[in-house]
């Protein structure tokens, strides 16, 4: 086994090698996080063995709908994006930033010690890889960096899995984020199932990935393996449940801020914020100050926030975005338009979670299409000022 692995190297693993992969990561000190079934959904949590993976499950997704069903073929990764993304591990839902202690003549402030576990993410889809790359830009490209995020990020080992099946709300092809993981991983896997054999085509994405793959029992690839993997990706790309026409979309939305569609969608939107919680790129946070009962110590805690709350835009005297229409407009135009001004990329990767987990089934692709279809109606009246 003296073959030298470098980025781009490929090898074939048996399905048993998945267990060896998990063990090898654990031996290197990683806490391995991967998909598992819980509460009727596929979530990301600690896994100890390949037996924890959701083998034999597939998901059914549509606007406002999600459910698991059995599948016959025993695929480990035969499902699309679930309700959680990897965001919760890199950008945790709640973090104490610092705490303050009262003293006789005032108070002192102490920074929170950040404990950074080495995490290995097993089963990161192409859309979520893109989402991680987007949050890297948000948190690490300044002028100020979120050092806690950067430290956690630097300690993550990523095993990507190429999608062999698209979900009903997927549109990664429209956002050019998938279904194949091209970059941003240490190792990527494509699950090959042909009725008799269950294997993985592994691709190296980094030196660490090369070293890990070299430790696993593997075989050289054949043309048949590569062709089978390509066919899986091609097939997934054709299965997209949704489509978003991104051509000129930023300019279109920015010229449609007074479009009647915002009022129309607001009649269906509950302003619950589910879309922002499940979104793998939504990064907004608020802070809360928690005081001890004796009043002598206080902690300053950063928590996920949502632009759908009234409080989000509160300035003295009231909220800026009081209407549901303004809040939906803020969210969607941020995702698909102003994010590009801010970070050079849209804030949407086409994972479809906001569509699936919207309790009223609001579909960002449908809303964008509706505005495109009637773009001429409102353009002139926006042109003023």
């Amino acid at each position: 086994m003296q073959d030298t692995m470098t980025a781009g190297s490929k090898a074939v693993l048996s399905s048993d090698a998945l267990q060896a992969l998990i063990v090898a990561l654990a031996r290197q000190g990683y806490t391995v996080l991967g998909p598992r079934v819980r509460d009727g959904a596929i979530v990301y949590d600690e896994i100890a063995s390949s037996g924890d993976l959701p083998a034999g499950f597939r998901d059914r997704q549509d606007a406002g709908r999600y459910g698991l069903e059995p599948r016959e073929d025993g695929a480990f990764f035969g499902y699309a994006a679930g309700p959680q993304s990897w965001k919760r591990f890199l950008h945790p839902p709640a973090q104490t930033l610092w705490s303050a202690q009262k003293t006789p003549d005032g108070f002192t402030i102490s920074r929170e010690e950040v404990s950074v576990p080495k995490l290995a993410f097993l089963g990161v889809r192409a859309c979520d890889l893109d989402a991680i790359a987007i949050q890297d830009r948000v948190f690490c490209e300044g002028p100020y960096r979120d050092e806690a995020y950067a430290t956690r990020r630097a300690n993550v080992f990523i095993v990507a899995v190429n999608c062999s099946q698209a979900g009903g709300t997927c549109f990664c092809v429209s956002m050019q984020s998938g279904p194949k993981a091209d970059t941003g991983f240490d190792l990527s896997l494509t699950e090959l199932l042909d009725g008799t054999q269950h294997r993985f085509l592994a691709e190296v994405g980094s030196e660490a990935g090369a070293a890990l793959l070299a430790e696993l029992p593997h075989e050289p690839t054949t043309g048949a393996h590569l062709a089978a993997a390509d066919a899986i990706i091609d097939n997934t790309a054709k299965q997209m449940g949704r489509h978003l026409d991104t051509d000129g979309l930023k300019e279109l939305l920015q010229a449609s801020l007074s479009h009647p569609r915002w009022e129309e969608v607001a009649r269906r939107c509950l302003s619950c914020g589910n879309c922002t919680m499940v979104c793998p790129t939504c990064f907004c946070t608020t802070v809360e100050d928690h005081t001890s009962l004796d009043g002598f110590s206080a902690t300053h805690v950063k928590k996920w926030d949502s632009c759908f709350t009234l409080d989000f835009s509160y300035v003295h005297g009231g909220a800026v975005r009081t209407s549901g229409a303004a809040r939906y407009r803020q969210w969607m135009t941020h995702k698909l338009a102003s994010w590009i001004d801010q970070f050079g990329t849209p804030g949407c990767v086409g994972c479809g979670r906001c569509i699936t987990w919207c309790p009223t089934g609001i579909d960002i692709t449908e809303e964008a299409a509706a505005i495109r279809a009637s773009q001429c109606v409102k353009e002139e009246s926006d042109g003023g000022a």
Binding site: S110, F283, T285, H316, A326
Partner: protein, 284 residues
């Protein structure tokens, strides 16, 4: 990573406040005080007119407050705080000697250097005079570098006039055209009545060589933009200071977005040309 780090590397963690002590409290109005805050250790950081700090009141929280002191003076940060919410209430209750936390300074500044050689029109509404005061100090201290200088200040009522003593001093100068107006005059008021944007057309400046700096309630700024543009001032030379909810002040929490701008880092001071497309729209 203990407290010692804080004084050694003040900006190493921009989320963590420095400790300050309140050295003076001046009551300005019924609900408004000016605080002078000195760092417990080290030098007060330099700031530019128009920038803001995040002030922390123990156990209550942080709030973005503009700096209203003289940038040429060292030693303390000067902040004028109106009691309008939980944090500002706690801040305005600080007494001399009380501790506070402070992060900053943050944000963009008034173009006091870019305006050199030009006429300057400063338009302030209500508490909007506070973030403009450092620019006024700078311009008056370097008066020969500017053309005509006009300060237009409007308040709802005579009782809301901020920094009244200083306004009277500036008014005495022969090289500054200062006009104060109130929306609602009462029996005690013998000055101008009417909204501040209406003063713009009565003010002498060369529209082709003027820099305007505007801060106040958004509705007042909208009318001021219209009046200044109507007078012929370029959108690129009209600056305004925006206000939005801010939690982090460093572009990471998302709260202060105004279209593509993060008001905390792309603002609070922006040329009108940058936001004109959306400034007249509601609920952005």
């Amino acid at each position: 990573m203990g407290e010692a780090d804080l004084s050694l590397a003040p900006l190493s963690d921009p989320f963590v406040p420095e400790l300050y002590r309140t050295v003076r409290v001046t009551r300005e109005l019924r609900d408004t005080v000016t605080l002078e805050l000195a760092p417990l250790s080290g030098k007060r950081p330099a700031f530019e007119p128009g920038q803001f700090n995040m002030l922390y009141a123990f156990g209550v929280g942080e709030s973005a407050i503009s700096i209203s002191g003289d940038p040429a003076e060292e030693g303390t940060f000067v902040h004028t705080v109106r009691n309008v919410g939980a944090v500002s209430k706690a801040l305005s209750a600080l007494e001399a000697g009380a501790a506070a936390g402070l992060r900053g300074p943050f944000g963009t500044s008034w173009p006091v250097e870019g305006a050199e050689g030009s006429d300057v029109v400063i338009v302030a509404g209500g508490l909007g005079l506070a973030p403009l005061r450092p620019a006024i100090y700078h311009i008056l201290a370097n008066r020969d570098r500017y053309g005509r200088v006009s300060i237009l200040y409007g308040c709802r009522n005579p009782g809301d006039i901020l920094y009244r003593h200083e306004l009277e001093q500036w008014r005495q100068r022969l090289d500054v055209d200062l006009t104060v107006t109130v929306d609602h005059a009462d029996a005690s008021w013998h000055g101008n009545a009417g909204v501040v944007p209406s003063l713009i057309k009565r003010t002498a400046f060369d529209p082709h060589d003027t820099v305007a700096m505007v801060c106040g309630p958004e509705i007042m700024m909208r009318y001021s933009m219209n009046a200044l543009r109507g007078a012929g001032v370029s959108e690129k030379r009209i600056y305004l200071s925006m206000e939005r909810n801010m939690k982090c002040a460093i572009g990471l929490c998302g709260h202060c977005q105004f279209g593509p701008e993060f008001v905390c880092k792309d603002g609070p001071v922006v040329p009108y040309s940058k936001v004109a497309r959306i400034f007249a729209l509601r609920e952005i």
